[in-house]
Symmetry: C2
Subunit: 508 residues, 2 copies
């Protein structure tokens, strides 16, 4: 990509001092100073960076990230004084040394983190220490409550408020597009905030954006939920649990997802939207975050206990995550697949089954149906068209066009069928490789990009028959995705070479 | 302090992208991009920071820290591509998960750290993981060797090359100013690099700077050592073991000093200057880094073993660190105290005793004297004036005035005697509090600031007699230091209240 450069403002919090001045003030790299903008009565406390060459003594460089609170004009004189270390650093040290943090200590860390008094390195030290030494359930509860307190909340006067969450890792998991309208159609309220794709081919917020805007304030989310019964919006645009977003940002480069922080992250978002009833989907199996059912049950137990402490009733569904949910991956492909079911395509498939199972659990937990009758009730709300009508209402309340149908969603015009290499049965599909092919084809940025899986595990296939169709909006992206499919062989047909090291280019 | 502000260049490595462009490129906050300056043929790989507001799509903000290698002009077009994660992040993860790092893995981490491919947060994650999970001796050896390989080295053709190190924490520890000239006067080579004050009242480099310049390249250090037999220079000005300096910088905000990294840090500096014979001073006792003699022996054993692996013969002196070495703290006060001994003031005192003991060990280890006769030989080199002559030679070779005497060193003209609060014996002095008073008085930036301790533990004192004299160059600094002495009561006379919580202002 060709971009125009400029050497200017930096959003990060940076205060740059000359080494001579730093010595006079008595601070070293990483120490805090307080900068005073006396005429405006503002001041900011921040860590310093020290240089011998970049500025001359008598000068200080201040980033926009600092100046949004300090509000100086370039060239202004400012007073700088050494400032004490934030108390939260002691608590981070305590966690590094294997200690347990009190509610107050966790609160101080979260506050100093969100106020940017802690530097990125110090936040990383906390996350690393919590990852290595673990957080017990008391610490997780404190962290969850402080994450909630760090941002905005929805406060409904009615009960129950339903929410739904899926632990990630499974491609094509578009069930929220079915679960939310079914639950809202039953008369329950479900203010669903979702994420965008991180490493996947499309997050639920990316999918919903093909139907309606997804960026709203918490006030708007609350009003829309009261009006339509449910919404599907982008959580990242709100100020819900910002401390959680920060932790996720700092975990990301290290590719860690510490259990305690993951529990707090999930439940903080539920608590902040005012939910008291929550269904959590835990996909297990190869290629997911949770390797097996036993691990899934442990996680379920932790989520239920944390929910109990927070006043949220939680039930978990351990689901099969070894293959995509449904057959489509990519924004328009997934949205079309979900809409087709709402429109009456009731043929048996994994997407339909999983969606009504999850929605049914919420209907049972809230007493809308007796236990054992939830899934059937959910299915009926789809069959009788009420879920489709509710989905159109949700699309309309979010500012989209309610007349949209599954056939309005356009797939990329550059198409390629990947043929089966031989006769046999599909014995496995590789989740990660399927996601990578969809991303290479352009998903989620190109809404028409993605793939359709013709064959899933257990299905028979004949040599030359298509096992996978790739869609792309741009020709060069299709070529790259085809190349990737040839190398990674995401659909394994019995008798095929399972893998080859190093990978070679072979005509599939 | 009043400084002039400007909103300009930042030394830190920062690449700022708009969220829309980041999505197109396929990177998240913390992911790497490679930026290409095609006309110049340069490129840089760096982590990205993502903003929605600070810049518009189509633009990228690049910090001076990146541009020193990229060399674009403001407004140039640059190409940006997603880049893979550095392999070293996997190795950091391995350490977080409790694994042991191979030599190659440590090498990759150190390389990516010094090339700034790793972000400050990632370096902190490594340091935190190494602190919590520890490094075994193989890992410490690898880290030491890689620290040495990360920078410049001195290579002497002769042996032995002596070096000396003190584990920090004891105020007034100016023994290097005596040990180096004694060893050089014996005919041995000692290229001593020292640090500036970090949390103390004056590092050895700060002290030596009162006598001569201390900033030199490794080539200059080598030439000066061959000429004068010894030097006392500032290690921070060289490119010796820069990876060690980086680790120390990132440890500092967390106030950690992990054992493995401390061992590597000490021995890397010795190995890089080409030393094969090393004497290490380990002060133990209250207020030092090492609480007791048993701990001191463990540390000594580790240093000796690490030295053996690196081809450096190490012997350690476990010394008493519960009180200052000598009686003066502060730059000119300490230098004058050391020079007076070289000039013939041979009255018994802890500074003299400790210096000849340490220097004597090196004389014995190198065979200059038989075992048991080193300290006496060192003492003789002071008595016969050879050490003073050598010190003048060292001052001259570093560009200072060799005619300087102890009486040329000026103490601050603002002086206050702290009187004893009652009759009795001094039962303790508080190291940390003494250092803080000297720092408050202006040390090390004000060379004339500091203090003289009239009474040390075990000595009798009469009420009203001075126990401490504070010197400052500036009146307001003296007042603050007096106030601090009154509150912290650094010299404990038998019968006195030992401490009071919360502290109150009392007339001492």
């Amino acid at each position: 990509m060709i971009l125009t450069s400029s050497l200017v403002d930096i959003a990060t919090v940076i205060v740059l001092l000359h080494a001579d001045d730093a010595r006079q003030i008595g601070v070293r790299e990483g120490d805090r100073v307080t900068i005073f903008n006396t005429p405006k009565g503002t001041s900011v406390r921040a860590p310093v960076v020290i240089t011998e060459t970049l500025i001359s003594p008598g000068h200080v460089t201040i980033s926009s990230g600092v100046n949004k609170r300090l509000q100086i004009t370039d060239g202004d004189s400012v007073e700088i004084r050494a400032s004490s270390r934030p108390a939260s650093i002691e608590f981070i040290r305590k966690k590094m040394d294997g200690g347990r943090l009190s509610r107050e200590e966790t609160a101080q860390i979260v506050e100093d983190m969100t106020k940017e008094v802690l530097s990125p390195s110090e936040i990383t030290a906390y996350i690393t220490a919590a990852y290595i030494n673990g957080l017990d359930m008391d610490e997780v509860e404190s962290l969850t409550r402080e994450m909630v307190a760090s941002g905005d909340r929805l406060t409904f006067n009615t009960r129950p408020i339903v929410d739904k969450h899926s632990i990630g890792g499974v491609p094509g998991n578009k069930i929220t597009l079915l679960v939310v309208p079914v639950i809202a159609a039953s008369g329950l309220l479900i203010p669903k905030t979702s994420s965008r794709a991180i490493t996947g081919a499309g997050g639920t917020a990316d999918l919903m954006e093909a139907l309606a805007p997804v960026t709203f304030t918490v006030q708007e989310i609350q009003q829309m939920t009261l009006k339509a019964g449910g919404v599907i919006v982008w959580g990242g645009a709100t100020n819900i649990a910002p401390a959680d977003d920060m932790i996720i940002t700092y975990e990301y480069p290290l590719k860690i997802d510490a259990r305690g922080q993951m529990l707090a992250s999930i439940m903080a978002k539920k608590m902040a939207v005012g939910s008291d009833t929550c269904v959590i989907d835990i996909p297990v199996g190869p290629g997911t975050k949770i390797p097996d059912e036993a691990e899934g049950r442990v996680l379920a137990g932790e989520l239920i206990e944390l929910g109990r402490r927070l006043g949220i009733r939680v039930e978990c569904a351990i689901t099969y995550g070894g293959a995509p949910v449904g057959r489509n991956i990519g924004v328009n492909l997934e949205v079309a697949e979900a809409l087709r079911i709402l429109e009456g395509d009731t043929g048996p498939n994994s997407l339909m089954q999983k969606s009504v199972a999850l929605a049914g659990m919420a209907l049972e937990m809230t007493g809308k149906t007796a236990y054992g009758f939830g899934a059937e009730a959910a299915m009926e709300l789809i069959r009788n068209g009420k879920a489709l009508a509710k989905m159109k209402e949700i699309i309309a309340v979010q500012g989209g066009d309610p007349k949209i149908t599954s056939s309005d969603l356009v797939f990329g015009s550059n198409v390629f069928d990947v043929p089966a290499p031989n006769d046999g049965y599909v014995v496995a599909v590789k989740n990660r490789e399927l996601i990578n092919i969809a991303r290479t084809a352009g998903s989620p940025a190109d809404h028409g990009a993605g793939l359709h899986l013709h064959k899933k595990p257990g299905e028979a296939v004949k040599k030359g028959e298509p096992i996978l169709t790739i869609y792309a909006e741009r020709g060069w992206r299709l070529q790259r995705a085809i190349e990737e499919a040839r190398v990674s062989m995401p659909v394994v047909v019995e008798g095929m070479l399972l893998d080859r090291v190093p990978p070679v280019r072979r005509v599939a």
